[in-house]
Symmetry: C2
Subunit: 211 residues, 2 copies
């Protein structure tokens, strides 16, 4: 089991698009990564997530075709420098990665009375995202890259993977060995958006009151 | 900087209610923890999160009073064994912890065209949750406990902390040194709900097809 420190994993983790090698993921590493996701906290201990491992090339091909259409939809909304900058940015590595993992959220899991969800309907959705971050960090510690693709419509992905009504696809993760993890996030490197200083995100006692 | 391995942090992390000691959090540890949260991935590199550190005791007192009312709302929805089991479960450590951290989500950050969000409106919400999990794991590596309280209404918390319209409170985290981290999650220990086996959460190519 890799001994990467937590802070190393947090700070070296990247959202990978271009650096996948396509080599297979070792089965024991994959199980540790999924086990890390499954160890995430969840509202009412509901563990409402599922992981659909997409190895099939035909399914991935159909997905990437849809993603390219959605990329064009977004590109068409941009003008001038934004359009120009976006045209240089790769947004997915669906076919180059070793595996797709679709993460889903089942709102009925642990029901009908999910402890801690009566007042916040989205709390189960939040739990699913916590599992995704565990997965991402564990992969990083294993030397494996992850890229979250979000240029798709939920219903398309639900239909593609036979996800039943009442279960929502939350993420498509491209995952696999990488040639390197970049030091600077892609969107910063390509001039899309700069990092916000941490101190601007910290408030004291009331929103807007800087610490 | 603590050298805990990633997997140690992931598997020893607990959702803390009863074990807070109330001792202060060292400033350098708190900054590392918030820095870890701020290093999370985000859709379009939008970093849409903010952290309101709630030290004020009056604010925390008003929050906990609201939480107790919501606890009663949930309790009233339960019957028989569920009501009995729930009555023994502590759901928050707002006053016993050293600090409250309200995490918020600003949908306008990085707008109007957030790269990767045109097709999935909730993508920025997901990013905020990834930051919360980084925070939680970093705290664990620092020997500091975190408990996510979800027995509250978003609008109450928004009003309490002067969170402006368009920004959503996503979590209230109780944070501080702890006497210990339990081995078994509270809700499992108290008989609320058992852990689901990992293999049930893994599907191959299509939802419902077990790996």
């Amino acid at each position: 089991m890799p001994m990467s420190t937590l802070y190393d994993a947090i700070h070296s983790r990247r959202d990978v698009r271009a650096e996948f090698t396509g080599e297979p993921i070792a089965e024991d590493a994959l199980l540790r990564i999924l086990g890390a996701a499954h160890a995430a906290p969840s509202v009412g201990h509901s563990q409402p997530w599922d992981f659909v491992l997409v190895r099939d090339h035909d399914l991935r091909g159909r997905f990437v075709e849809h993603v390219r259409t959605e990329r064009e939809v977004f590109a068409a909304s941009l003008e001038g420098e934004r359009a120009e900058t976006f045209s240089r940015i790769k947004v997915e590595g669906v076919l180059e990665s070793s595996l797709g993992i679709a993460v889903t959220y089942d709102a009925s899991r642990g029901g009908p009375a999910v402890l801690g969800r009566h007042a916040i309907a989205d709390a189960g959705l939040y739990s699913t995202c916590l599992a995704i971050q565990n997965l991402w960090l564990a992969a990083t510690a294993e030397g494996i890259g992850v890229g979250w693709v979000s240029f798709y419509r939920e219903q398309f992905l639900a239909d593609l993977l036979h996800v039943p009504a009442g279960v929502r696809p939350i993420a498509w993760l491209c995952i696999g060995p990488v040639s390197e993890l970049r030091t600077t996030p892609d969107l910063e490197r390509h001039g899309w958006r700069r990092k916000r200083p941490l101190e601007q995100a910290i408030h004291l006692d009331r929103y807007g009151a800087l610490d």
